[in-house]
């Protein structure tokens, strides 16, 4: 499934203006420890996190993630949104906690 499929669900809201939403998502990674993400995630993953920190995008860029999903309805920092546009990484806000975000996306076919 693609990033564009995620935002069809009303719990998910696109926060920036990436050049494409057609990127495939290979698997979901829900974690707030970036060392663990670096060591275990892979290309085209979707990162789900509550970590409202610009370094989530650094990790996303290094691993070529398909998108980053900020869960629990957090207010994502404006510098994150700006950098996401610079790096052309789709960032999405989820109104659900991380676990429910994973369950919802799994039910949607991810």
């Amino acid at each position: 499934m693609k990033v564009s499929d995620i935002i069809l669900n009303s719990h998910f809201q696109l926060l920036n203006q990436p050049s494409t939403l057609d990127t495939e998502v290979s698997q979901l990674v829900s974690c707030d420890l970036m060392s663990h993400v670096m060591a275990n995630a892979d290309e085209h993953d979707a990162l789900i996190t509550v970590l409202n920190n610009i370094n989530t995008l650094g990790v996303a860029s290094l691993h070529d993630f398909s998108c980053v999903i900020y869960s629990s309805n957090i207010t994502v920092n404006t510098d994150i949104i700006k950098k996401a546009n610079d790096l052309d990484i789709p960032i999405i806000k989820s109104s659900l906690p991380s676990a429910e975000t994973v369950i919802t996306l799994h039910k949607m076919g991810f």
Partner: protein, 145 residues
């Protein structure tokens, strides 16, 4: 292919730019047509070492050398040093500050991860600073087929 050599500065607590050296390294390795798996391995090691300088030290620098035989990085920081390297190498052992933990680091996985992905790892430390050399060997199977 020609040897690539560059020195980068790393600033203390500069979380916003943490990962820049890993990003430069990744870009150069991809330019050399090294495989996705090899690039990922090197990127993990460089990122962890870079983060360590950002969150644990007073700042420092890193030299990056890439040639046909290996990728080597030498990190030098300005202290305060690692009290016990054996402890620091244990998974889960961490002396990270609350600032580092709030930013998603400090799980005590950095040095073990570096050791796991690198071919050579050499480290010395004193209150004046920490020296870390990591090398990734390039073989025929390191390239995209």
């Amino acid at each position: 292919m020609e040897t690539f050599f560059q020195v980068y500065q790393i600033e203390r607590n500069d979380i916003g730019n943490a990962g820049s050296v890993a990003s430069f390294t990744k870009r150069e390795l991809k330019r050399r047509n090294l495989s996705r798996g090899f690039v990922k391995t090197v990127t993990i090691g460089v990122y962890e070492a870079e983060i360590n300088v950002v969150i644990h030290s007073y700042g420092g620098n890193v030299s990056l050398e890439i040639n046909d035989q290996f990728v080597e990085l030498i990190f030098r920081d300005k202290g305060p040093g690692i009290i016990n390297i054996d402890d620091a190498m244990r998974e889960g052992f961490s002396t990270a500050s609350p600032y580092a933990i709030e930013n998603g680091f400090g799980a005590g996985m950095g040095l073990p991860n570096i050791k796991a992905v690198s071919d050579e790892m050499e480290m010395t430390s004193s209150p004046e600073g920490t020296y870390l050399r990591i090398r990734f060997n390039i073989g025929e199977d390191s390239y995209e087929s």
